[in-house]
Symmetry: D2
Subunit: 305 residues, 4 copies
């Protein structure tokens, strides 16, 4: 996200704007955690994980009196438009500011599990999957003993993209995602077959939205009598030096978001589709139905022989 | 590249083909360095840099008698089509095999400097730029002494993409690419201005096709009296564990290449444009004029304030 | 471990020995998984995690009839001495071979949790702690939201060294090791105090031998009403490219082990004490009482203010 | 170095001291770049490369009037003792402050090339060699084409330790250090022999103090007709996230340095010998003759078969 913050600040300034940083998300906005930013404020941050502006939850921002407070604070600072980096929840705030106050907020998709269907990729996804690959590399190194099957639980409550891309790039043998009904009998069979075929190790990439890794382990152990390891990558996936792709994407997203504010176009979110940056109305973005990347899903299965 | 090899083998087998590996490129083809491959031959290679099939140069493959020898060898093995991973030079061989013998070769773009204009990205580019970023991170850590300006020479004889993406994602202050005429006076001025502005460190990203880092250092020192460091990343950029993006791209490219051979379509190369895999006639691909990514180039300049 | 294997092979050959590799530990020995090795057999393995010779459990090696079988196999191959890389369990086999058959086995300490008290360091420990640090870096990046306390569960059933070194080098605020009685009230107090002091994030480094991370989380939540994250690093700690220190240590250990066999000194294990390689009788090594590194433990507490 | 700074601050405070940070070395001291530090000043720095206190050269500190100025500044701040992290040059300042003013300065050895003979290891050495190994890994991946011999030039003007440890841990075939007379005929012979033996790739680890990589390349090419690559790692070796060993060493060094100041023992430097922290008189430290680690040097040669 720091790449997007850096780009928003510098691109905004180069377009003649004054730029402010709001810390801790909507909570910080309501409470006036706002500071002026210049080109130097964002020096040396591009390689850092996390965000220099911090994040926080703010469930009360759903209520109109808190939104009103935000409008008042922004007016006091003379801020005429806001860029929000986040996911579903943050985007609803953008919509409310448009609907209730006609106040221009624009959104940049920043969720590591790539769960915003209107855009091909979200900020942080590339970094997260590369972190998953690092962990899979480590696991492969040592999967030479009895327990040759390992379940790797990765992020993704509703969207299995980390699991799919992680499985394709990590060479996982089996992959379970929330978008596809689990066929436990087929998985058990594949584990047994891989053992017979002489595969040295099996990695099962499991999106957290399917079930807990321990539950899957118990079930598979019962059916196959093979003992399995589990690894839950958890919050390790959230941090780490961002990859090139995420830094470039952050800069492009931010530049487009600044352009939107310059044209006073609020209530919109930016995204990338077919390798082109675009923007669309936030409500429409939120209503875009999630679809499984079927082609990639099937490619994983073909390649995991 | 190993991801593409793995995918070609397994996808090919899943499509009912027999698959062979040709080692050491065209030289190996002429000399019959050919072995049968099965699913197990490509186990545990996806995370490895380099290529398990090795590479070699073979300038004599331009001559028709060597091409004829290749055709004979392939006939002897009963091989009906060949997938070639490489750049310009390798692709000319594909064209010759089509024109002179009607023999189906298909090409996968595999050059780290992204210098094939017909495709948005080539295999290895994402990994190479991430390696450049790693080096830039290390350099930034220590640029706190007198010599605050550092020239980082990266690959790219005719194509400045590593320098452009590296500069954008690495937060470089200045960038020199072969596609744009160097304005040494402007660069000198920017270095001086950055010093006055209080910038802690300057990184100049230099594509090797522009000039040698030492030449630039001398010239800038003469004009600014500021001492500069140089770092030439050289062959370090070629290796390393491939990134997620390169592994996924390799798998997709290979699957398309197998599909082409299955349909007996030779003389074609695969590529990615607007995030979609496509294929085109090899001669047309080789004639696609190289263009600077102007938008990205200008974004770097705006963000390097 | 591959560094030790490479060194044993090449150093042995340079001393005029014939060298064989036994795969899968004692199980492989009993079953004759034995191949001749030359200098080329260990090319290109030094940077790989895991072991090219694989590992396996073999509880039946405690029984004399299986030990007898091992002796028979070794005699059939004309093998006059064996180097074993492992921990407690493997070392007991060395002792038995000495006591029951006078057969020279020597041991190299290879356990990632540094739980062999007779040596300052074991092979794999440096790599494992560096992996822990990598994970801690990632976690710190994102600990900017509500859940600012994170429990990181690391390996170490009886020995807290990964936790102690990881805490010192990772800047953890709190550390729990099996050698020291847990004072849950003191920990709760420290968490609250750190929050009051304005610490942005707390990391609790927990050795698995103390308790499960979830158990600790529940207990601390009950006492402090602060929500905590947990991350169990698990088998990720076992793999990964070995660090310089582990590769150098492996080479030194292996060279000494070869020297011992050359002098026909079996029933001994090698180690490092005060930065010097030494060897001692295996029984004595196994009886060395484990001691907490008190100085380091207290330094962590002083530095975690 | 940040680990040592963090430890000095927190350990000092825990011992009841007031702690100040002096930026930019002796130059900053003379110019009063001094700020009060508390436990929070050193939060979140342990994983960062470089130093938060910056460095600078200050050749004029050799002159007594500048030393007098330093004494005056320190007196004005009420600072009673100073910890200096650095090498030869910085240590001479410590000696002068003792001899000329009886002012207590203590030294922590911080040079990446391990060139201080009185201590087994200096701060930064472990990190630097691990960075070298990373580069060697990348190079090995791609050394499959014609140019199979690569010269890697690493730091070390007078001390070849980076080259020796890098060669041992990186599996280099040949190693050139300033402590040993180069036998160019023997090296040429070994390159040819390795080619004949079928070695896939040769890495020559060259300490910069021996000669420039280009000079060696020319000479070897003339003698062997084999084309060689060169890579100069340069300043990349200086940065990067510090390893566990360096962080732990930094903390231990700093704690001992604080203890010395507490006892008002100036003119001393800390070090590590046989894995034990010790301190000694600075003049004696500077006069300790440098010795080649012969055992390790020979081990490299034995293992590079």
């Amino acid at each position: 996200m720091n790449s997007a913050i850096r780009a928003a600040v510098r691109y905004g300034i180069s377009e003649g704007m004054e730029v402010y940083g709001i810390e801790c998300g909507y909570r910080g906005l309501i409470n006036g955690y706002i500071t002026r930013m210049d080109n130097r404020s964002v020096s040396g941050i591009i390689q850092k994980g996390g965000t220099i502006l911090k994040t926080d939850r703010c469930p009360e921002f759903k209520e109109i009196e808190y939104q009103q407070k935000a409008v008042d604070v922004l007016a006091a600072y003379g801020i005429e438009g806001v860029i929000v980096i986040g996911g579903d929840g943050s985007f609803r705030g953008i919509q409310d500011m448009k609907t209730n106050f006609g106040y221009p907020f624009v959104g940049v998709p920043g969720t590591i599990d790539n769960d915003l269907a209107y855009t091909d990729f979200t900020l942080g996804f590339d970094t997260a999957v590369n972190t998953v690959l690092w962990a899979v590399n480590n696991l492969r190194d040592t999967m030479t003993s009895h327990e040759r099957v390992c379940i790797v639980e990765v992020m993704g409550r509703k969207c299995g993209d980390i699991a799919i891309y992680g499985a394709l790039a990590g060479g996982a043998e089996i992959m379970l995602v929330p978008e596809v009904q689990v066929d436990i009998a087929a998985i058990s069979k594949k584990i047994i077959q891989n053992k017979i075929k002489g595969k040295k190790s099996d990695i099962i990439m499991l999106a957290e939205g399917v079930c807990d890794a321990e539950v899957l382990r118990e079930e598979l152990k019962k059916r196959t009598s093979i003992s399995l390891r589990t690894v839950k990558l958890g919050h390790i996936q959230r941090g780490g030096t961002p990859t090139m792709a995420d830094r470039v994407l952050g800069a492009k997203f931010a530049a487009r978001a600044v352009d939107l504010l310059k044209q006073d176009k609020g209530g919109r979110v930016v995204g990338i589709k077919n390798n082109k940056i675009f923007d669309m109305e936030v409500g429409q973005a939120l209503n875009t139905p999630r679809k499984l990347n079927k082609e990639l899903y099937e490619l994983v299965n073909k390649l995991s022989q």
